[in-house]
Symmetry: none
Subunit: 140 residues, 4 copies
């Protein structure tokens, strides 16, 4: 398998939002990008604020841009703030250095896309993303 | 009703893609924006190319920016190319002057959002968008 | 007098919108900028679409940028499209090359600001702007 | 009520500036945005400096972007500076993380727009915004 299908992406979105409701999180926005960083599916729950599409996308796109989760990018941004700042300026979708952007891999470990979630705390956003990826039978 | 809910937006997306398959159209991308131009839901069918998310969004966002469908904007762009070009540069999401971006109105005629579709001919893109809006019981 | 006061700008806005209603124009947006191109007052009538603030501003700002009305810029854009296109890219607020952006002068002929109107045809937009400037006892 | 009308927005602006004069604040700039972040009304008092339109707008737009007041965004920017910095880069109007950007809600609690004020201290800017919202019979 070399890319996430729309059917898989929609399963990820549904699984992420189901987890958000199960955990009583604030309204979430969730995006699924392919390995090239191009959007496959997106959903913004009622009450999720205006910039959430861009924040979700910048978490996922940043993860693909640097090859690590946005949680790791958050850690890098503390140690090397000028590097992450500069990299964010180079990425058309930007980079948000906070947990919630998760790389998706196939059975062989190849990166096939990324999921980005925003709306609650970064830790909760990431937990919902992981639940969504799991619902689709894929690996983070 | 004062805005499109996520449930309605997902119904619009599903209805649009169902129409695309019924008409054997090329792979489609479809976006639903709220009245402020912020994304609620998006789907890109397998095989739909990289820039389709931005093109779908620029059709729908352009319709909201100028208050008319992207079909009318396409006509305006022939009569007044410099005006539409300048307006496109002012809209953060850009403006694509071709059919497929359709305003959505509530029962009172108030604009509550817009749908953007791309992937086949502009006429077919618009037909699929209209089918999606109809599937959600809303008016174009 | 060297600049438009807020009181004068609000009189221009009110006079412009009054003219729009008297002529039964579509919903208008109107901006008043000082000679430096910085906004003093703005109003968008109910039903005026999302990008109208930027379009009104780009008409008025363009007039100040080149020292002629946006009507003249529209004529220039036909004769010298690449020049106007390039200039638009240099102006942070952009340039919209269509009537409706009018320079405002004091009794000595010095430019003290500009008015930008959008929503109906360019000719009607300009007529409303001129009525607003007249209402404030200033000269176009 | 599903959106702020121009009449309401002009009442908010007048109420904000009246409060500023009652409290002898420095010259203020005040903007009212709809729920999508698009400008409805704006006024800049005589003596208010050049960038005030953008600062007022970035306070109000930032509040809508993240779904909280710009006062809260100011607190977030101390705890999570890289997140707010990144989000600011994603919002076309930017984000100013300081008090003075206040969300406006209708009777049902739905966000219908935002007010942004700048010119004096952030606390005073916010007090003037709240007075303006109150003058229009709306809730912060």
């Amino acid at each position: 398998m070399t890319s996430i299908t729309l059917a898989q992406a929609q399963t990820i979105v549904a699984g992420t939002l189901k987890e958000g409701r199960a955990l009583s999180l604030k309204p979430l926005s969730v995006v699924v990008l392919d390995a090239g960083g191009h959007m496959i599916a997106f959903a913004r729950e009622d009450g999720s604020s205006n910039l959430r599409p861009q924040i979700a996308t910048a978490k996922a796109s940043g993860a693909l841009a640097l090859g690590v989760s946005s949680r790791v990018i958050g850690e890098m941004s503390i140690e090397r703030p000028t590097f992450i700042n500069a990299a964010a300026g180079l990425n058309p979708a930007g980079i948000v250095p906070a947990a919630g952007g998760v790389l998706v891999r196939d059975a062989s470990g190849t990166i096939v896309g990324a999921v980005g979630v925003t709306g609650d705390t970064s830790d909760n956003d990431e937990a919902a993303a992981l639940a969504g990826i799991n619902a689709a039978g894929l690996a983070a």
